[in-house]
Amino acid sequence: MFSITPREASSVIRVIKSTYGTDLSGFTMASFRLRLSHILKSHAIRDTRVLVGKLLEDKDYYETFVRDISIGSPDLFRDPDFWIHLRDRLLPDILKSRLYPEIVVPECVTGDELYSLVVLLQEAGNDFRVDLVATCRNKLIMDRILDGKLSNLRYKNSRDNYRVFNPGSSIEDYFELRNGTRHFRTDLLQGVEFRLQSPDQTECSDKTALVLYRNRMLYMNPELQSTRLRQLLQEMKEGTCLVTGIRETIEGFGLDHLYTVVSPDLKIYAKIREN
């Protein structure tokens, strides 16, 4: 379970930094080690020395590693209270003041937040006209999201969440069976603009009204959390909303001058004008 030592984890991080320039040192160490254990097991790799060897000599494997070390949201409509609030309060409020606003979902890994948003917008029909932007760390992650495969467990959890979100409807309608496995319907993702994450590129534009950044910071140490929050808040225009996970906090980073709290329970914040 925690068979990878912090030292071994650090050596993997060092190799990746020196070989590919990607800095993973901002990951929360316990989660990173756990994830490394999963990777060794699922990729049938004996130990971290073998892993380091593969990372050093195989760029394609590095991309696979990046995909699998990243942690996604576990299921659709997690925290149904939030999704109900988004549908009934937050989005209608945004649409009162903006025409075709943009919603950005940064750092997508498994697509669950994006799928949930797509379902919500599909059910709202023409009432909610928004543009969706999703960013991913690499092409393999993007392909996985577009493939839409869900394990039975994720599907079951998603179905349970959705029943709270929309008791009169069935989430089954948004999935199709391929070779006995459930996949999120690809046609529903056609309107989504996918972008590869890049340190040089901003994620928000003048049109961005909402940034869904839920449970992304759980896997970062406080230094990286602070850096990412500052980056996002500085990119956001006045009035743009930021949503984090309900057990995440953005207080205590010295960024209070950049936002106001819209909902303390659902962790919704709005960018304010910098003084």
């Binding site: 379970m1 929360t28 160490m29 316990a30 756990l34 942690i71 467990l153 449970n215 959390q225 057990r247």
Partner: protein
């Protein structure tokens, strides 16, 4: 088993049949206990509120669901939030995670115990209570392998014995105790 004076943290795991035992334990902790207590209980994922309040009702120590990266303090009972894994970081903060369930459980006792064992080593005391699946088995083994102390509720005394039986099969605990014995023990910490 090591003396309680050396214990720097207590971690408790439980599932079906453990709630009443826990409520009683929480009543009897010494106020001002100089160590943190981590509580990992299997619970309904959809029910986010009410559980913390119920446990707090008669507890002698404050019980709270931590936020991610919260610094660990003494004399506080940290309850793993519903639908999150609760991991203890080496620099003594709490990291939450939405990773896949382990043994169908999120929070997972295995992950909570395992990470606490890593952070506290021989200074950790773990107590495993009644439950209906095998979560906790690997966690208890991690605690023992890092020199920590382990107490397991006597399977004959459990409402549902699966969890404790499974853990005992893999790891020899320091003590197997009945509920009254566990309660007496925690009141002396």
């Amino acid at each position: 088993m090591q003396k309680s004076v050396k214990t720097k943290a207590l971690v408790i795991g439980g599932s079906a049949g453990s709630f009443q035992v826990l409520v009683r334990m929480l009543e009897l902790f010494r106020p001002g206990l100089p160590i943190p207590v981590f509580l990992c209980l299997h619970r309904l994922k959809q029910v986010r509120s009410g559980f913390e309040e119920t446990l707090n009702y008669n507890a002698s120590l404050p019980v709270r669901e931590p936020f991610d990266k919260e610094k660990i303090g003494r004399g506080i009972v940290y309850l793993a939030p519903a639908n999150y894994h609760m991991l203890i970081e080496k620099e003594f903060s709490i990291a939450l995670s939405t990773e896949d369930p382990v043994n169908h459980s999120r929070p997972s006792i295995d992950l909570c115990f395992g990470s606490a064992a890593d952070a506290y080593g021989p200074a950790l005391l773990a107590i495993l209570l009644s439950g209906a699946n095998q979560d906790g088995t690997m966690g208890v083994a991690s605690v023992k392998s890092r020199g920590g102390a382990v107490m397991i509720q006597d399977p004959d005394d459990c409402e549902i014995s699966t969890m404790c039986e499974s853990a005992i099969k893999l790891t020899k605990p320091d003590r197997i105790l009945t509920v009254p014995e566990i309660i007496e023990f925690v009141s002396l910490l």
